[in-house]
């Protein structure tokens, strides 16, 4: 059997999510080191043309299970399918992108395969003398290098673990093969009562640019200038914990240690002082801009660019400048 690296990709409206395409590139680069091919697994409704794109990122083959029962996200059944794909392909390394679903599938697959699992991986593995990966720990305040000793290895990779743009690794198109995993009734004991999804909003974990507001925004009725800048930049919007605790913004916008951890290219913090718990949620960002009226705000220490002043005067200026970019 040929050894392979298996990469699970998450789908969004039939296309592969950007963080998952990064995971494909990560898997392909890993396969170059360890030998073997990069095989992708996609579950649920997908457009074959979109799946072929995985080839651009280095995959040679895409297994696609389109069973209607897999259309709704189900980490239990998905993990079962992942294990069956790994067994079919003889995969010794399994890669997922970091998300609630990625962690859940990785965990269940690792337990089934008696495999070591490392989540939060930030760089390609070192394969000289043992298989070692670097991962973010203490919510990004530190890193650990961890050796995986089990035969089968399950890795959950963070956004930006590998540099890759929309041209991918310049590969060709991948062959899409139908895949029909055996589905177990025990994975479908839960019934879905309801799903609420804000479809129009950009996902925070996928966003390349995030504009985020804190208590300095002075109230939910003052959010418009921030939303205007986000719109001009094509950015997602986030907030600090006090803001979601006060119900100024919805809970799923809360960024920080106990909220969502983000890693965009650009993070713009408006009226956020920068408590250590908030910084823990944004320290994966490439570039941080802080706008605050208090020059002593701790966030400036973690920022690349800073403006001391009134957010309500500064935001419209930035929005105008951003509009003239296009």
């Amino acid at each position: 059997m040929i050894m392979s690296v298996l990469i699970y990709v998450e789908l969004d409206n039939g296309s592969i999510k950007k963080t998952s395409l990064e995971a494909v590139a990560y898997g392909a680069k890993t396969a170059e080191k360890t030998g073997g091919q990069a095989v992708v697994l996609a579950l649920g409704k997908a457009d074959a043309g979109e799946l072929e794109k995985a080839g651009l990122y280095g995959a040679t083959k895409v297994l696609h299970a389109s069973d209607a029962k897999l259309e709704h996200e189900n980490s239990l059944a998905y993990a079962d399918a992942l294990v069956q794909a790994a067994q079919q392909e003889g995969s010794q390394i399994i890669i997922l992108s970091k998300s609630g679903l990625g962690d859940a599938m990785a965990a269940r697959a690792a337990a089934k395969l008696k495999a070591g699992v490392v989540s939060g991986v930030t760089a390609l593995p070192e394969t000289d003398g043992g298989f070692k990966v670097t991962r973010a720990i203490f919510t990004g305040k530190a890193f650990a290098t961890t050796e995986i000793k089990s035969d089968i290895k399950v890795l959950v990779v963070r956004k930006n673990a590998i540099e890759v743009d929309e041209n991918g690794l310049g590969g060709g198109s991948a062959a899409v093969e139908a895949f029909a995993p055996a589905l177990r009734d025990s994975d479908f004991t839960a019934s879905v009562v309801s799903v609420e999804k804000a479809d129009s909003e950009l996902s925070l974990t996928e966003a390349e640019i995030i504009v985020s507001g804190g208590r300095g925004m002075k109230g939910p009725e003052h959010w418009q200038p921030l939303l205007d800048l986000a719109k001009a930049l094509g950015a997602a919007t986030g907030c600090s914990k006090p803001v979601s605790d006060l119900d100024w913004r919805p809970h799923h916008e809360h960024i920080g240690q106990t909220g969502i951890k983000v890693a965009p290219n650009l993070y713009i913090a408006c009226g956020i002082s920068g408590a250590i718990q908030h910084l823990a949620g944004v320290n994966g960002s490439k570039c941080i801009v802080v706008i605050n009226k208090d020059p002593e705000a701790p966030f400036f220490k973690a920022a690349d660019y800073g403006i001391v002043g009134d957010v309500f005067e500064i935001l419209p200026k930035l929005t105008e400048a951003a509009k003239s970019l296009k």
């Binding site: 996200e73 980490s75 993990a79 609630g100 962690d103 859940a104 599938m105 990785a106 965990a107 269940r108 690792a110 337990a111 089934k112 008696k114 070591g116 699992v117 490392v118 989540s119 939060g120 070692k132 203490f138 919510t139 990004g140 530190a142 890193f143 650990a144 961890t146 000793k149 089990s150 004991t189 839960a190 019934s191 009562v193 799903v195 609420e196 999804k197 804000a198 479809d199 996902s203 925070l204 930049l233 809970h251 106990t258 650009l266 570039c287 801009v289 220490k301 690349d304 660019y305 800073g306 403006i307 002043g309 009134d310 005067e313 500064i314 200026k317 930035l318 400048a321 951003a322 970019l325």
Partner: protein
């Protein structure tokens, strides 16, 4: 209703992290340890459910004796008894195998823990335990209600939420706002002293992953300050200098 709540013992969220012994160990000097914040939510909801439905609540920690103040705190908050698996765990699989072993012995209707520990942030232990026990696991759970043998769960999904109805037993990774954190009262603190805290030895598990060294991120360069009167120049700098637009 038999509930197990698993807690981690982690540095306080404001702790400054550093390492010793050639970057192979966390420097615990001057670091305040707490019950993992997500585990604290799980514990609070577990106590509420026990008070509402009756039954028992056991708190479980896999770790060393220095966690006992945090275990006693969990007892003071409302757990009936505690188990500490005496080990210095380095790996999620190891921790999950210990929890699964205890769960097989005692049989719980509900196993609650935080969505992730705030030291290793893996968020995989609930999934591992669920699979080891052959029962469903869900995370992150923001709301949990029980009705007979069924749980109604609201969990966060990418950009929204999902409500599920699932039969017990279940393993759940919890987060806010599942319950408000509880602060132990004086009576709780007094009774916690006499509640059983059983220390057991770990079951053997093959080494799956072994941490080798730790490091801190590279120090951040100086922040470039832009006068508020020239705020609009920021956009150009982001495009030409930082190259993020």
């Amino acid at each position: 209703m038999k509930i197990l709540v698993c807690i981690t013992n982690v540095p306080d969220t404001t702790a400054k992290i550093s390492f010793t012994d050639n970057d192979t160990k966390l420097n615990k000097n001057g670091v305040q340890f707490i019950i993992g914040p997500y585990d604290d939510y799980a514990l609070a909801r577990g106590v509420e459910l026990k008070e509402q439905l009756g039954g028992s609540l056991t708190v479980l920690h896999v770790g060393e004796a220095d966690a006992e103040p945090q275990i006693r705190k969990a007892l003071a908050i409302g757990a009936d008894d505690a188990i500490r698996v005496n080990a210095d765990p380095q790996d999620s699989y190891f921790v999950a195998a210990q929890i699964a072993h205890i769960a097989r012995q005692n049989g719980y209707d509900l196993i609650l823990m935080g969505r992730e520990s705030i030291d290793y942030n893996s968020g995989v232990v609930h999934g591992l335990v669920g699979e080891m026990l052959g029962i469903p696991s869900y995370s992150p759970v923001m709301k949990l209600d029980l009705d007979g043998g069924n749980a109604t769960i609201t969990r966060e999904i990418d950009g929204g939420k999902e409500v599920l109805k699932a039969p017990l037993p279940l393993v759940l990774g919890c987060q806010e706002p599942i319950a408000e954190w509880k602060i132990p009262n004086m009576r709780g603190i007094m009774t916690a002293r006499t509640k059983p805290l059983n220390v057991v030895e770990p079951v053997a598990v093959d080494d799956m992953t072994v941490p080798q060294t730790y490091k801190l991120p590279a120090p951040k360069g100086a922040c470039k300050m832009i006068p508020a009167s020239e705020a609009e120049t920021l956009i150009r700098l982001l495009q030409t200098e930082a190259k993020v637009l």
